[in-house]
């Protein structure tokens, strides 16, 4: 189907089909006046192009390339020990289906490499074992389900193109890291390191082993002036242990553990959401920030519910807390969790599941206030606002208000201002702070 679609898009091609030559398919091609004059049977792949002569010839010349395996999917032999020997590489990025991911990560650790494990659907038992093994070898085991890291200016996974600067982040939350990095970017504050640890690192089963190691590395990094810890809701005992770790650091620490109340405890300042985290960082390093540019909202009506469709799990959790604080009913979906990503790409890459849900909402009877995130950066959908636009326009036709948080840095490849313009053209209210987007959506419901 990929071949048919690609051929049809070529200039000068009117129609194209790449089908197995079953009797029925051949009959249908004949009915369409595309009967090929070649003997073919159900074993054969039949490729037929109808177009201007030269265009058709050009299209046929493209076929071998279209049928060839895509470069990213080509079989490669990736024995980590050999790669280390040949390249001197010190870090392995593992992004394979979950059932194979742990095996690859073990091999990389055994070869002495740090691991960025992007895959999800890895068992928590494997995660704990991998992190123990990494600790024994003095290596970083970032993940599993580690969405984002920025190491010495190099982004891994879903990373935004931010400048280097004085902030060091350890995060058990990919989109949490992205949100803070992007808010800092808007205030012209750069990031020295952002070490992802995987969303379950501060769970009781894993015990925060990688967060502990990341905090120590940030303490040792001379470029880091302020340390920041971000996490989804943490296990209370693990959170208490992490407080001890943070309090021992000589550098100021801003912590955002969703669910923890805002407070100062010695050198550790707890923020109550991701936007507040960026605020406190800016305050700590004495830079004016641009908070007033982060929000603009108005009351929109009396809709009864906020319906959220999130690609970022931490953003989803944070929005839920903001709405709970306002006493507003909500139904928020984190489309990045394992049950939605098994067998398909993460929603930051593949918009189709969310599009289908928004399309369904556009033809349904409910009229909620919609809240969603649009995440930019390397590896993300090359035009996420453009992908969402048809569904957003249908929602606008039904007068369903949409609040979107745009998580992006000024240098991201999708173009921050272009994405913002597309969302606004499609009728969205656009925010760069997730907490403010949620608050605006909640106030729109309350009226």
């Amino acid at each position: 189907m990929r071949v048919s679609e690609a051929l049809t898009k070529l200039p000068g091609v009117h129609r194209a089909a790449a089908v197995m030559a079953t009797p029925l398919n051949v009959d249908l091609l004949t009915d369409d006046g595309m009967r090929p004059d070649v003997p073919a049977g159900p074993h054969d792949l039949l490729i037929v192009v109808d177009g201007e002569d030269e265009a058709a010839e050009r299209a046929l010349a493209e076929i071998d390339a279209l049928l060839a395996p895509r470069a990213s999917a080509a079989p490669v032999e990736a024995a980590p020990a050999r790669l280390v020997e040949q390249t001197g590489g010190t870090l392995a990025v593992v992004a394979v289906p979950g059932q194979y991911a742990a095996t690859e990560a073990y091999a990389a650790l055994r070869a002495g490499m740090h691991v960025f494990l992007f895959s999800d659907n890895v068992s928590v038992e494997d995660e704990a074992r991998l992190k123990r093994m990494a600790a024994e070898r003095d290596l970083l085991m970032m993940g599993p389900d580690c969405g984002t890291a920025i190491l010495d200016g190099v982004g891994l996974g879903f990373a935004n193109r931010v400048e280097r600067g004085p902030v060091g982040i350890a995060g058990a939350s990919g989109t949490g890291i992205q949100q803070v990095c992007c808010l800092l970017d808007a205030a012209r504050i750069g990031v020295a390191q952002a070490i992802g640890t995987g969303g379950r690192d501060l769970s009781a089963a894993v015990g925060g082993s990688m967060t502990r190691r990341a905090l120590r590395l940030l303490e040792e990094d001379a470029a880091v002036e302020v340390v920041c810890l971000i996490s989804k809701p943490a296990d209370p005992d693990v959170a208490a242990a992490m407080h001890g770790e943070m309090a021992r650091l000589a550098k100021p620490v801003i912590a955002c553990l969703l669910g923890e109340r805002k407070r100062d405890e010695g050198s550790v300042r707890y923020a109550d959401n991701l936007t507040d985290t960026a605020d406190l960082i800016a305050e700590t390093i004495g830079r004016p920030h641009l908070r007033e540019g982060w929000l603009s909202y108005a009351h929109l009506g009396e809709d009864p519910l906020v319906a959220g469709f999130f690609a970022g799990g931490t953003l989803c959790s944070e929005a839920g807390r903001v709405l709970d604080g306002l006493g507003v009913a909500h139904q928020l979906l984190d489309l990045g969790v394992d049950e939605y990503t098994r067998g398909r790409a993460h929603p930051i890459i593949d918009p189709r599941l969310r599009l289908a849900m928004l399309e369904r909402l556009a033809v349904g009877e409910e009229r909620p206030v919609v809240l969603l995130d649009v995440i930019l950066g390397d590896l993300a959908d090359p035009d996420p606002a453009g992908s969402l636009r048809p569904a957003l326009e249908r929602l606008r036709e039904r007068a369903i208000p949409v609040h979107a948080v745009l998580v992006g840095a000024r240098s991201d490849p999708q173009g921050l201002t272009r994405q913002q313009a597309t969302l606004k053209d499609a009728g969205c209210r656009v925010f760069t702070s997730n907490a403010e987007a949620a608050r605006a959506a909640g106030l729109a419901v309350r009226g």
């Binding site: 189907m1 990929r2 048919s4 089909a17 790449a18 089908v19 197995m20 079953t22 009797p23 029925l24 398919n25 249908l28 159900p42 074993h43 395996p69 999917a73 080509a74 079989p75 490669v76 032999e77 289906p97 059932q99 194979y100 095996t103 049950e339 939605y340 098994r342 067998g343 398909r344 189709r352 599941l353 599009l355 289908a356 849900m357 399309e359 369904r360």
Partner: protein
């Protein structure tokens, strides 16, 4: 060339009964298709899901030449210089029993399936509309000849190595069989129609569609299909949620969605035929409506 030994992750129990030489007929970067002397197709695949006549391997597949001969002997499949070792692999035996079917649960789940029908604009799919509608009408009437005529018009229809029409039929046949196994006796009429259709399709498919599709259809007629489809069918109409939907719709380009369409037709048919036995409520107008909804939901057929 060095011998490359690939451990298999799992394999379908049917694989062990294959005897004699096989021939490599198609090579993709994620699968080899090996043809057996009886016309069936053995798939060696890196896909994450088990399926009929398939051996799953964990690593990337090396390239092999189409036309190469291969042989399965003593738990080792030899293909050129490569050896796929089955010895430590898990034997995949699809479930044959599960939670009993509940009519209310089935109706409730059927209503929820639309959420998995992504918008899809593909001209060849529109050709499914007429025969799929004819098939659902014939099933609703219990018209055996009518089902055969309609299935004839779906076999081998559409894009893909398993043409879309075949995927719909796989979902339908597997659905009728699995639902019957869970139904504790009711819906026998639907089963009779489905069993006869399955037998007929198994017989005619080799001439009407690709060898891979014909193989999958033959197994579907016995209630065996890719694990995500089985997960859906074994949980559809139970008191818990439907399992495997996301994995099913993620299969292939549109294969998973087409199979789900077929499965929803089976469920709708099953409810209607069960009603027509007088065991539970149901009527022809409900049937037409229910089948029409199933159509519109996933196939865009009207």
């Amino acid at each position: 060339m060095p011998v490359m030994r690939l451990p298999a992750v799992s394999y379908h129990e049917s694989v062990v009964s294959l005897r004699g030489q096989l021939i490599v007929r198609a090579v993709f970067h994620r699968a080899w298709h090996l043809h057996a002397s009886d016309g069936s197709v053995l798939t060696v695949t890196t896909a994450p899901e088990d399926g009929p006549m398939a051996i799953r391997v964990g690593g990337p597949l090396p390239p092999v030449a189409p036309g190469a001969l291969c042989r399965l002997r003593e738990d080792v499949l030899s293909v050129e210089q490569h050896q796929i070792a089955l010895g430590d692999a898990r034997l995949w035996r699809p479930a044959t029993a599960g939670e009993p079917l509940s009519r209310d649960g089935l109706e409730g789940h059927l209503a929820l399936l639309p959420s998995y029908g992504d918008a899809h604009d593909e001209p060849w799919r529109s050709r499914l509309a007429e025969p799929a509608k004819a098939l659902t009408n014939a099933l609703a009437r219990g018209d055996r000849r009518g089902t055969e005529v309609a299935a004839w018009c779906l076999l081998g229809l559409g894009l893909g190595l398993t043409p879309a029409g075949d995927d719909v039929l796989v979902g339908l046949l597997t659905g009728l069989i699995v639902l019957e196994r869970r139904a504790n006796g009711f819906g026998a009429d639907a089963v009779r129609v489905g069993a006869a259709l399955g037998e007929w399709i198994s017989r005619v498919a080799p001439e009407r569609t690709t060898p891979l599709s014909a193989t999958l259809l033959r197994w579907a007629a016995r209630g065996v299909a890719a694990q995500p489809l089985l997960d859906v069918l074994w949980s559809l109409g139970s008191t818990s949620s439907v399992r495997g939907l996301d994995r099913l719709v993620a299969m292939g380009h549109t294969s998973g969605r087409d199979m789900l369409f077929g499965a929803s037709l089976a469920a709708a048919t099953f409810l209607e035929r069960e009603g027509s036995d007088g065991v539970a409520m149901g009527g022809s107008s409900q049937c037409v409506s229910r089948l029409g909804q199933a159509h519109a939901r996933l196939g865009g057929a009207h």
